[in-house]
């Protein structure tokens, strides 16, 4: 039985699940450990102590450069991307009430990909790479808007959202392939790397930009958090207890798209994080959106960081995109959970 603690202070009251809190603390510790490891390993291997020395006091300038300018921004970006994608996936899975829901399904990934490939093929020569994230987010947003509008028929039911999402995603993927097939090889290569999802060559402006964006979305997420669970009830039941179902669904969808769109814009189309991490989080933490979201964020961050570490170190001197290893690392764990499932 979960131990619940009630916190009351003036006009503020909340219930806190102590076992969930404990698990989150453990997960946080694990994540910090992974960060430390990622900072230590690479083309130049450092000991964790050396890394700590570099971060908190001064040390050899070239090593400081490696840790603070090359590795840290990249790792930070990977963590933010992973966290954003998994929370986005968690929200979608609760809106759609289907365990297969993920940003990939609702056109977010395909919209961003199509826009990115379009940008890389036609505009990058003139405008440079800096507006790529903008294009990606625009693509993600437009695709989701199209899906929502098409699914609207006196309300957007979860099933219709999924079905139309599948249709629109397929169209967008076809467009992406179309452009890829007919564009010159150089564009194809860079587009393909982007499509696979890579945090290669990230420098401080990027994680800071993504971080800023996520910080902007966070308040909305926190406000809506307590309503996510109610939203999982039947529409009539939810409306009966006073939930404005359509508004809530639209709001949550908006948050989800914003999170995933931003993550994909800066990290490329890393598929699968938004699918696996929420599932793992749900197995570790019981019902209750706040706890699950925090856990999903930590798991997603860890997953992408580990994937990036693998890509950087396993095939030296090659630097492979993190997206590849996300599936490689995440799938066996996910399958293990699936097999162990009692239902």
């Amino acid at each position: 039985m979960d131990k619940l603690m009630t916190v009351r202070c003036g006009g503020f009251s909340r219930r806190i699940n102590l076992s969930t809190l404990l698990r989150l603390v453990l997960a946080l510790a694990l994540t910090l450990l992974v960060i430390l490891c990622s900072l230590s390993l690479g083309k130049v291997n450092l000991s964790p102590l050396a890394v700590l020395r570099i971060l908190f006091s001064s040390a050899d300038p070239s090593l400081t450069f490696i840790v603070e300018q090359l590795r840290f921004p990249r790792i930070f970006l990977a963590a933010l991307v992973g966290a954003a994608l998994s929370v986005s996936g968690l929200i979608l899975q609760s809106i759609i009430r289907n365990p297969l829901a993920s940003p990939d399904l609702l056109g977010i990934t395909s919209g961003a990909s199509a826009a990115a490939v379009l940008y890389l093929s036609f505009f990058s020569v003139a405008l440079g790479q800096q507006f790529l994230p903008v294009a990606a987010m625009l693509g993600a947003g437009l695709a989701t808007l199209a899906i929502y509008l098409l699914a609207w028929k006196q309300g957007a039911s979860p099933l219709r959202l999924v079905l139309i999402g599948v249709g629109v995603s397929a169209m967008l993927t076809a467009c992406t392939t179309f452009i890829l097939v007919f564009s010159p090889l150089t564009t194809t290569l860079s587009a393909y790397v982007w499509l696979t999802g890579s945090v290669y060559g990230a420098s401080w402006p990027e994680p800071l930009a993504l971080g800023g964006w996520l910080l902007g979305i966070c308040p909305l997420l926190v406000l809506l958090a307590r309503q996510v669970m109610v939203q999982q009830l039947d529409d009539s039941l939810a409306q009966g207890i006073g939930v404005r179902v359509q508004w809530l669904r639209a709001g949550l969808l908006l948050v989800s798209v914003a999170l995933a769109g931003a993550a994909i814009a800066w990290g490329g189309a890393i598929a699968f994080v938004g699918l696996i991490a929420p599932h793992i989080a749900k197995r570790l933490i019981g019902p209750g959106f706040g706890g699950q979201a925090a856990m999903a964020a930590l798991i997603g961050a860890t997953l992408v960081m580990l994937a990036d570490l693998a890509g950087r170190t396993l095939f030296l001197p090659l630097d492979l995109p993190a997206g590849i290893f996300v599936a490689v690392l995440g799938t066996p764990f996910f399958l293990y959970l699936l097999i162990k499932q009692r239902h």
């Binding site: 909340r14 009539s236 009966g240 939930v243």
Partner: protein, 263 residues
């Protein structure tokens, strides 16, 4: 105590009229039961009372005010609905489900006030679920699960409770269990209960007021003895029967005739 009524209420679905210009008032503090054949619109009517459907014409009046002019949250504090075959989020415990009923009284700041805790405790006690409170809802029997849903509507602390076929899919013992609970709530807390039932005999036994929905309107309404007549059953259900007073409870009991018509 709020009362609920309809004024020239017209409900339609995709250009097909389900309820046509209905004027009806349901008595306060009593148990009202809607009966009718499949597809006659009784569930639709119930949903419109719960503000889940927008009428094509006319209005539903709650406490003297058109229900659609009130906000969803305001209505949720006066009226609770339990739809057919509700589904719960995966893995949720009974206590968590009942707590969801407190939603209309909570806000971001106040997520678990003293009152919330007390109401949930009371709801669990009234439905006899204290022992099962921490079990997952999926693990309960049909009757227990239905009681958990009713506990949720109780935690909502409303004057009116609407239930859409709360006893379908339950075995007879559990049906009686649920109906007895509802009658207790009506007698002790003076809650207005409005429900759709399929079983005519149980409907007669538990209802104070009965409405037969037929041909897009309330074909007959009143006390069960007045409403349930052999001719009504023939008209509404296309069924020959005999109505006799129940030997123990005195309420009308319908004995259907199929192909074997007794002499």
């Amino acid at each position: 105590m709020p009362s609920i009524a309809s004024r020239s209420l017209t409900l339609s679905y995709q250009r097909q009229v389900i309820i046509d210009e209905l004027d009806m008032q349901l008595p306060k503090g009593k148990i009202s039961v809607l009966i009718g054949s499949n597809g006659c619109g009784k569930s639709t009517l119930l949903k419109s009372f719960a503000r889940l459907l927008k009428p094509t014409h006319g209005s539903v009046i709650l406490d003297g005010v058109d229900i659609h002019q009130k906000s969803t949250a305001a209505v949720a504090r006066e009226l609770a609905i339990l739809p057919q075959m509700p589904s719960a989020p995966e893995g949720i415990s009974v206590r968590q489900l009942v707590s969801l009923g407190r939603y209309p009284y909570q806000s971001w700041m106040q997520q678990w006030s003293v009152e919330d805790e007390a109401m949930v405790k009371q709801a669990l006690a009234q439905t006899g679920l204290e022992i099962l409170a921490d079990r997952p809802v999926d693990a309960l029997s049909g009757g227990q699960r239905q009681r958990a849903w009713i506990a949720m509507t109780l935690a909502q602390d409303t004057g009116i409770v609407l239930l859409d076929e709360p006893t379908t899919f339950l075995d007879l013992a559990h049906q009686i269990e649920v109906l007895d609970l509802l009658r207790d709530l009506n007698r002790r807390e003076n809650k207005t209960i409005i429900m759709v039932l399929h079983d005519l005999n149980l409907a007669c036994r538990y209802a104070d007021h009965m409405v037969a929905v037929h041909e897009r309107t309330a074909f007959a309404q009143g006390r069960p003895e007045e409403v349930l007549t052999e001719s009504l059953v023939k008209t509404v259900f296309d069924l020959n029967c005999r109505i006799i007073p129940d030997p123990f409870f005195g309420t009308p009991m319908c004995i259907p005739f199929g192909r074997d018509v007794p002499q």
